[in-house]
Assembly symmetry: C2
């Protein structure tokens, strides 16, 4: 009897382990790239990557052997677990080279750096980054790049199926997990991967032709499209502050990473206007244009030459809104209004189904429709008002999902900020740190973690809290919270 | 033809003017109280009050004469207008003695002070308050006291009828404006007024017996029950920091002002348990108890003696949560965690149908029910979950109202903070200033407007913005926003 219960538990968990081990295998393969580079360059860091790859591969081997005869067919509750566990386990494995290698980070710092990388947040505890080995620079880029494709797949195929936070709006054939359409899903996954790789190669080439060193071009291409924000200099993208064409290229690639990847597929399949007809894309572009215009005028009024003002405003606004987190300049020195504006922009985020984090544009648009219908209701006080979004009727289910997500998003940030303040962080650092973590942006505000700061001086406990925040934000919060309800385990 | 249009317009607006002029008459009557005191004390400020009363009475006379034959029967759109216009006009009239009298405030400062008073916010631009004339001290108290009863009546009788922000939850016979139940409405209004006066007299007596000077007892009684927060000293209630029994009395009276007044009526009518069975009251008390306990432990851990810690924590937490805004101590010096905690508490507010501002407890509770039902939905992904609040089914209409209000509340604060930062206010001052204004609390955070600060150094434009914020917050935001929709004027 006892044994059959154990057996049943194993049959529940084995498919989860099998899926995870496949993902770990992908990680191990990518870990070999910096290893190879370091071997060729005869750097001592090569050993760290060899060891790390070995550990990951051993875990993969054990898990795959144990689950050899298990067929994978996941129920929703298993998908919730796979989603959360994959990000946690991959972040942990990815931190190994940082502990074992040259920077010799403490376990806390290494996990903070890798969680920040895999969630494409981009907050860093490393300084003198330009002196890191090529392998390590590459690894930071690869981690973000992998995190980027991971979140696109999650946004297209998994979260809409799980109905998290109103994402059912984006339910397409690709998020239908019944057997019939699996070939289609596979096709979309391949197309997405192809586009992501194509964009990255384009960005590499463009950055390189634009004057970046080859390795810098590779790393920045990966961290731009992943809207990750790791750069190869302590000055972030500020290292290219005097090369405006590189800033404009960066702006373009960050923006490309923050648009819905399904739309690129549609464009490639012949629907040439798909991008320009999408309400989410409209929303993002209108927001960016308005904010950039106002901030540029503001900076010009303060005496900055027009082109310089425009270049830096566009770059930093796109960087924060797409949740990339590069900085070309310390925008907190642009006056109190800019500080407040960038604080707000931290929350926004890009489009759903892209690499961007934050609350996502569509949730603001759905909320806005709700507000308009409420004002209508107060004017007429009877009558039903049906709102539509992107041609779809906004059902109560979707609206409730969006609203609940928004509340949970703010609650998570508020709770995190309170925790951070309990560890002695001042008001601005605690509040902006919590926001930048949950929205997966990168830099906060204030002297410590601002765009020209670094997360290393924070106490260890604060770093762990921020890790939780980054992961919860990346997993759209509800995916994690569901696991904490007693109901989930009572199935 | 032209004339008949004008005539129609007049018939639309005349009832509004008539209601307003009755309210102004009440103001004028109360203005005579400090006047009388000043005449008896032979203070020169008496002239200022005489002149102010004269101006208000003249306005009343003209309006009443013009609308002599108009019968008052208001449609919803007219009630929206009456509500907003009454607060704006009364605040303006109430500022007259501050311009004409001894403090000789500029028009901006005087309006700021009177808006802050009438909305029961309690932010002040006056310093050396203990040296003001008795009449002026009294006037500051009376303004808050009138604002307090105004908001109770609005919360019980008007907003539920207008269905603002989910307040339909509190729709009772008293918010039914059909002719049948008008006698009932009158009864409830009288009972409310009676209780409010009774409580105030009790508080006066208690403060006086507790050792306050008679005038201080009167003013503090009025500003405690109105959850207003004006005190007769620059140190706010800190003037009594060494008399813990006065702090405990203050805590009690603020709390009494922040509970739903309809429940007091029910208790008096024999439903002895009405207060203890109300979900809103539960929510408020549980929140206060939890926060007070945690903050007291925190302060004890930092070395404050238990009783002293408890007294000041309870007083200041109740003061901020009930949106009174007295301070007995500069709680921003209790460490970063306390600063963040008090920032959050600024938003909460007391119960609906009380004198308190803020988002109100019931909205947090409704939001929490929404979040729980969302987590249930994700676990089972089908099935309808009906939530109940205080024995009532939460209809979609109410939930939507609550959600829309919450979004508008945060949007208003965010917009206001951005405006304030544009005027050069730093991040903390702008953000906490906007929050404290819209939530009608009083003190903000930071060196300038913190609990030991003063609003006088802010630029005039910032003060006007804060006035708008205080009025919008007091009128539950939507009441004002409706007036700004083209739909409203297209009726």
């Amino acid at each position: 009897m006892r044994e059959s219960v154990l057996r049943e538990q194993w049959l529940n968990w084995a498919p989860i382990l099998k899926v995870l081990s496949v993902l770990w295998l992908v990680l191990a393969v990518f870990m070999m790239v910096p290893w190879l580079v370091l071997v060729i360059e005869e750097e001592p860091d090569a050993r760290a990557f060899a060891l790390s790859t070995g550990i990951v591969l051993a875990s993969v081997a054990i898990s795959l052997l144990a689950t050899l005869r298990i067929t994978v067919s996941l129920k929703p509750w298993q998908m919730f677990l796979v989603t959360t566990l994959s990000w946690v386990s991959i972040s942990t494995f990815a931190s190994l080279p940082l502990v074992l290698g040259a920077p010799q980070l403490t376990f806390t710092n290494a996990v903070f750096e890798s969680v920040s990388a895999i969630t494409t947040t981009g907050s860093t505890v490393l300084s003198r980054i330009d002196q890191l080995s090529d392998g390590l620079k590459l690894w930071r880029g690869i981690m973000q790049w992998l995190g980027g494709i991971g979140i696109i797949v999650m946004g297209i195929a998994i979260l809409p199926f799980l109905k998290v936070g109103g994402m059912r709006l984006f339910h397409t054939e690709s998020s239908d997990w019944s057997d019939k359409v699996m070939p289609k899903t596979g096709g979309i996954a391949k197309a997405t991967l192809g586009i992501y790789c194509g964009f990255t190669l384009t960005a590499m080439l463009a950055y390189w032709l634009g004057g970046m060193a080859p390795l810098d071009a590779v790393v920045h291409a990966m961290t731009s499209l992943a809207t990750g924000g790791f750069a190869n200099s302590d000055a972030s993208f500020g290292a290219y502050a005097e090369q405006p064409h590189l800033l404009w290229l960066g702006s373009l690639f960050m923006l490309m990473g923050a648009l819905p990847f399904v739309l690129y597929i549609r464009v490639l399949r012949g629907a040439r206007m798909a991008l320009w007809r999408d309400q989410q894309v409209h929303g993002l572009l209108i927001l960016l244009a308005t904010v950039c215009l106002l901030l540029t005028l503001w900076r010009m009024w303060l005496g900055t030459p027009p082109f310089e003002a425009l270049t830096h405003v566009v770059f930093n606004v796109i960087s924060v809104v797409t949740t990339t987190g590069y900085a070309s300049d310390d925008y907190t020195l642009w006056g109190p209004m800019a500080t407040v504006a960038f604080f707000y922009l931290t929350f926004v985020g890009g489009c759903s189904g892209s690499t961007a984090g934050g609350m996502k544009i569509f949730r603001f648009q759905v909320a806005m429709l709700l507000l308009v219908s409420q004002l209508r209701f107060l004017n007429h006080s009877s009558g039903v008002f049906v709102s539509r979004y992107n041609g779809q009727t906004l059902t109560d289910e979707i609206t409730r999902g969006v609203v609940a997500f928004s509340f949970f998003f703010f609650l998570t940030i508020a709770g995190l900020a309170l925790g951070l303040s309990l560890m002695g962080l001042d008001f601005i650092t605690a509040l902006s740190g919590a926001a930048t973590a949950v929205a997966n942006v990168g830099p906060g505000l204030g002297d410590i973690i601002g765009p020209s700061g670094n997360f290393i001086p924070l106490p260890d406990a604060a770093k762990w809290l921020l890790c939780v925040g980054m992961l919860m934000g990346r997993l759209e919060i509800l995916t994690v919270l569901v696991l904490l309800t007693p109901m989930f385990w009572r199935r």
